[in-house]
Symmetry: D2
Subunit: 294 residues, 4 copies
């Protein structure tokens, strides 16, 4: 069993930390929101006074924060948390951030003799609660083997994407593709229905044909086609459109870095921003269907 | 066993007709290319002198032609083939054409007491040869039941998409989505590789994650990821980019009809036209990968 | 002075016919709406009972109709109006229609010994009323010289675009570009204002710089920048978004014909269709600004 | 006459500095490339040993560098050049950089009692040589009045865009619009020519109509339409495609900051990146015409 500092107890971090607790690990937890700390303390975690207190004497540090600036702000620079983490420890940085930011943290950790993995997740809050997240991991393969039991307590699929930063690159590539096929699916659904097709019939034909994709398997954006999908619950729950916009923004930042051309990914970002303008940012990202129907 | 007239013996029609022959049906065949007629005649089909000769006395007529204008030109108008087809016959119009064209043919057939189904296929020349095509069928459900054994001799999945023209609508919706996710996949592959990922690793991560789709399962556009995919054979074989451009054009024609907004589908068409300009129209449609890598 | 049949007295046709009357020509007019006929009859035109009655004995026939199907329906086929027009007459077909439709009418007119020009206009209802329209003319240069005084009574700029159909091609090229720079201008206005710039200042800087265009000169889409622009009148008046969507649809039809790639033009069409979905089709086309601000 | 330090003597900076010399100002110049320093020294400038040497005792400092990172790297942080600039001096930062970077430099300058203007230019190397640049200036209006004679020695149009950073915002808005209308113009030219129009005729019709823009006035992308445009010189000279891609990247960075939706601007960037992939980055940005013609 490991001694783990867990920093960042939001919608994703809290259930992830809980799954580690359930697996028998010793956790010391910290968040800016005291209620989140208290909730886990009531379930057996130790409450930290601050981030520095959380990491003191720990072998493993897990961070789950909103964006690049929070990760860099917490870990890097003079007085940054890396200075307080014990040499030889393992940092699992699970936030979704820019690959460049991840690489900066890798370099700073290495300079202090700390092992680090960038390990963004997919699967949403439901996957975090159920312990079925996917981890896309960048960094040293041996470090991944050490961390595997911890990832396994929180998730189901654990991929070694490649060297430092590769986890983040894999995540933005995957989520860009997800956004493109969500919009593509929504367009074809709207086109077919506008031309007389029954939405459930069309969805089933495409699912079994060369148009098949994860969206059609699990997450159809047309209300009523899948009763458990957010589309059938007024687009509540699931993965918020504003988070998809954030990930598509990271994809464009990554594309800028390599001067890659991604016309579909770029257009997807612009369409999600139209949705945000319309006040639909807190709805599930399948709400993009509404762009084409109302 | 049925007596079938089969008109249109191109890359798709010829192997489809052959599978009907093998299943024991009596065929009379016609094409503008005499060699195609001769080839099937050598295998047991009767050779027709012209389209009118082909349909004389037949119960079933199957047509497999390049585009709307050929179908309308053959069947409709004064002296059109519908005038020569026996009342009570069944026409299976398997070409991929505009839904509006299909509906015109439906109406004309009905006016002459002929049953008709629009039944475009997907699965390509390989599916046509193997008898594993998908049929997306529009028209009367009872007529579909009569035709089912014939479809089953040529294909595997047979979907009733809805009323007259619905087969064509389903086909353009599916192929538009296919094009969008082919390009989306190609973009994410290029983005990941340009940022240091191994293509096979990235492909596998996305395939198992929320980016999963038919392209990643069967048809990866990055050379070497799937040895049997056209991408690994210099993009030869498969489904030609110019045919995908044709289908995307039909999707835009359909969208014009319903004033549907399909930004991803429209962009996909423009990108395929760029490929055609570059002389890549005869390559498999996964050649769109090259837009982003060279 | 000419004897002119004028068919199609809508928002554009009526003021165009009135300007011909004012210039002293003899007009016989027809429209499906009796009030329009009566209005011009009160000003000195002769009222026709139907289209055939309008053209009887006339030297010049001007048509101004909504779309390709109306023009083809009126003029072509058995019983079409071309059969009733005197050989040697001149037809000025001023509707905005597909270049292919225009070429069909040219061919049919030629076959009957009738001269024809395709002569779509730009300038909107204001230009029609003021007699300042632009005519883009396709067809024989000598025929254009004959027609020039008539065009001059209705418009200011008269361009000979080229052979049969070239007027329509020039019109769709121009209007596609107009839509692209309207949207481009709206995007840059919204981007600048969202980042702290004063809209009038930004508009003036771009107008005088390399971003300068007709939209910035005459038709700024940001409310309040130009007091006479539709944007400052709740986007009322001007050129309706649904008409721009029609013209962009013609551009795509033309591009399909030549397999031209027009990514910006295609995207412009999709964005206008989003506006139509939002119920803004009757507003001036500069209403596209609202996509980016609300 | 002012004592001016000029740092950054590239394709733009060198002719700008030369114009200041000609206007009678005293210049001390620095660049990483010794030849550039020598060239101006031969014309009367003082040669600086390094950037610090250049600014010592000067009242005005002008910087003209490639990108945000160079500007921040030179001026900011411990040991940054701002520490060596005399309090009360005026810094004219003429590089094209991210608005956010410009605001950082403004804040740091203010903290040291140094006046600063962000003043990116447009007009290209030809405008720099001729002294006809456009300056888009952000910052204090009084500081702009002090700097006006210097701007006037280098340029013709001097705009006060607004507060700190506003010059950069105006520049990215303008250049995004320029790129959109360059591509839009190229699309319409290719569409028209593919449908039978003469390029010069079409260009002239659109120039005088509602499609009119700066590109059609000065910079037609179709070879042969304007003999002095880069298009008629194999796209040599002018404003390089890779610089347009840089500016469009800054526009997207700015849009990310405000979550603005800019579908046309985003697509323009992706199309320029396709050109860069094709090895056309060093050609004039009107080379985008070739995407649609070859």
């Amino acid at each position: 069993m490991s001694k783990i500092a867990f920093i960042g107890l939001g919608h994703m971090g809290l259930p992830m930390a809980r799954n580690l607790l359930k697996a028998g690990h010793e956790l010391k937890v910290y968040d800016l929101v005291q209620e989140a700390i208290d909730e886990l303390a009531a379930e057996g975690a130790k409450a930290a006074r601050d981030a520095r207190d959380a990491v003191a004497g720990m072998q493993v540090v897990i961070t789950m924060l909103p964006a690049s600036k929070h990760v860099e702000g917490l870990l890097l620079g003079e007085g940054g948390l890396l200075e307080s983490i014990t040499t030889g420890s393992l940092v699992l940085e699970c936030s979704t951030i820019a690959p460049d930011s991840a690489r900066k943290v890798h370099a700073a950790a290495k300079a202090r003799g700390i092992e680090m993995l960038d390990a963004p997740v997919s699967g949403g809050t439901a996957g975090a609660a159920a312990g079925t997240l996917t981890f896309m991991v960048g960094g040293d393969a041996a470090a991944l083997e050490k961390a595997r039991p911890l990832f396994a307590a929180m998730g189901k699929n654990i991929f070694h994407a490649g060297p430092d930063g590769a986890g983040q690159v894999a995540k933005v590539c995957n989520n860009q593709l997800l956004a493109v096929q969500m919009i593509g699916t929504a367009e074809s659904m709207a086109l077919g229905v506008a031309n007389g097709l029954d939405p459930t019939t069309l969805a089933e034909i495409m699912r079994q044909s060369s148009g098949g994709n994860w969206v059609l398997e699990r997450y159809n954006p047309w209300p009523g086609v899948m009763l458990n999908a957010p589309a059938s619950k007024d687009y509540d729950g699931g993965f918020m459109a504003e988070l998809m916009a954030k990930d598509l923004g990271l994809a464009q930042e990554t594309a800028q870095h390599s001067l890659s051309s991604t016309p579909m990914g770029a257009l997807a970002l612009q369409l999600y921003r139209l949705l945000l303008k319309q006040g639909k940012g807190k709805k599930d990202f399948s709400v993009v269907q509404k762009l084409f129907t109302e």
